[in-house]
Amino acid sequence: MPSSYNNPVYPYIHSPDQDAAQPVHHQVIIVGGGPAGLAAAMDLALQGVKTVVLDDNNTVSVGSRAICLAKRTLEICDRYGCGQPMLDKGVTWNLGKVYFGEEQVYEFNLLPEQDHKVPAFINLQQYYMEEYMVNRCNQMPQVELRWLHKVTHVQTDDAGAAITVNTRDGDYRLTCDYLLVADGANSPIRESLGLESKGQVFEDRFLIADIIMKADFPAERRFWFDAPFHPGQSTLLHKQADNVWRIDFQLGWDADPEEEKKIENIRPRVEAMLGREMEWELEWASVYTFRCRKMDSFIHHRVFFIGDSAHQVSPFGARGANGALQGVENLGWKLAAVMQGRAPAALLQTYDTERQHGARENILHSTRATDFMTPKNHITRVFRDTVLDMSRQYPFARTLVNSGRLSKPCTYEQTPLSTPDRDVFEGAMRPGSPCTDAPVSGGNGSGWLLNHLGSGFHVLLKGDFDPGQITALEALATRLTAKGDPLNIIRVDAPGTPGANTVHVTDSRGVLAERYDLQASAVYLIRPDQHVAARWRQLEPAAIEAALQRALGFELSVEQAA
């Protein structure tokens, strides 16, 4: 098959660990060099934690696989320092169109408002995402990537983990305080520990055909129910980088995966869709079925499951790799805080509670989309087709059309780490929400709020506060930072020169004030993963310190954490 991409080959390197008489100990070992594992290494590196990443292969993803990178993922990667090459290479899109037969019945714009650094979505083949992540990891002295080092055995208890690694030079053993497992949906490590990922299999098959063609179709997500060129089934068309187009044909449960993958069977399907005169070449094809499942707990003693090994979704909604990165950024700062003695071990349990919530939300949306696309019985097919038919004419029916509800970061409702609102705020933001980006000037000069947040706790504030309280806040930030618990202050539209641990930013067009409801005065405490921990209308340094302690898990009893 022709290829628009040559997979890099990373060298096998013999580690001195392989020659040690006793198993060498590392603080954190990560199994799997896919998006979740590489993101975990970068996140921890930014927190000053060293990691060893073990991967059984020596390249990035073979085939395009996950192609839709959501806004939140791009923001996370931007913080890791690998977002820009993704944005430069990826195909930006905001618009989705849904067709029933020949007719467009529904259209959605995922980012209807301006003033965000990154778009709602880009499409980028998974191999590029991984390659840029590997490049970034290689710049980070805290990250050691070991290619062709395959973990074959894992043992764990409440004190650590011991693993056996197979290489071309034979087996060796390592121990660690924490083992992060990102070895994919079929996770051999999960299986070997006798743990299960539970959920449902959907009785349907889909053909992915990635084709190379020069076409001037717009960079939109186009989805057909009962396409005229593929009757009775759905089809998805999506543009990727390098003039590669993803086509996704629903085939039904009875399709033969081996037959459908053959070029002679793919060609007529694509010709029916694009016409016989269109020139194209097949780059990659795969036939797959979906599963939506998750583990009951993502933590097993000192083993932490991240990404698809912990939770798996159907692809409609792009919640797999995107959900994985949200999980990683949730875990990174907590693990660093506990390892560095800044937070109690109970904080780690909230990785499970908060991300179980995220995984449930992702599974719920992806299950509903899949159920809509593949009705399970006659009556649900009647309802589905009636919804589509009525959606041509009646706006209410369009809200029921579901071709995938695209990935959005979840709000950690009810998390014990948030301090509930006492004051009144307008708008969608609330404790537990991911921070929305907004343009700002000044500060580090980046021009965007999110580039000022992350990796430590931040206090974002605007208003005419008592200078004594400002001094007390600066003293708190200085004291905590000296203790190794960095607290940074961001003052919006403040006069004068910035005080200790403080940057001043200007919200010249008022977008930040609107998105965070900063009218009058407001103070936000923001977690290292850019989620809101607490907020007030008054500035009370004692309340900020209490909320910070809470966000670090000092208020958790063992039961709450579990």
Partner: protein
């Protein structure tokens, strides 16, 4: 006089649709038919207004019989 609302009005459209599919899960066609009839009667009573109900019935009656192929 009130008119039939054809604009989006669901508080959670996806949750409604999922619940609708659930109530029909693992039911015989006869049972499904009966469930639909009960549902229509319940919702019609909730709507109450004869004028609105007649508008809904008129739209519902304009079916596209070519739409459904058994499979």
């Amino acid at each position: 006089m009130s008119e039939l609302n054809l604009e989006p009005n669901f508080s959670d459209a996806d949750a409604f649709y999922a619940a609708l599919a659930d109530v029909h899960r693992d039911r015989s066609p006869e049972a499904s038919e009966q469930i639909n009839a009960r549902l229509i009667l319940l919702l019609a009573n909730q709507v109450g207004d004869q004028h609105i109900l007649e508008q809904a019935l008129a739209i519902a009656g304009q079916i596209n019989s070519e739409l459904f192929h058994d499979n």
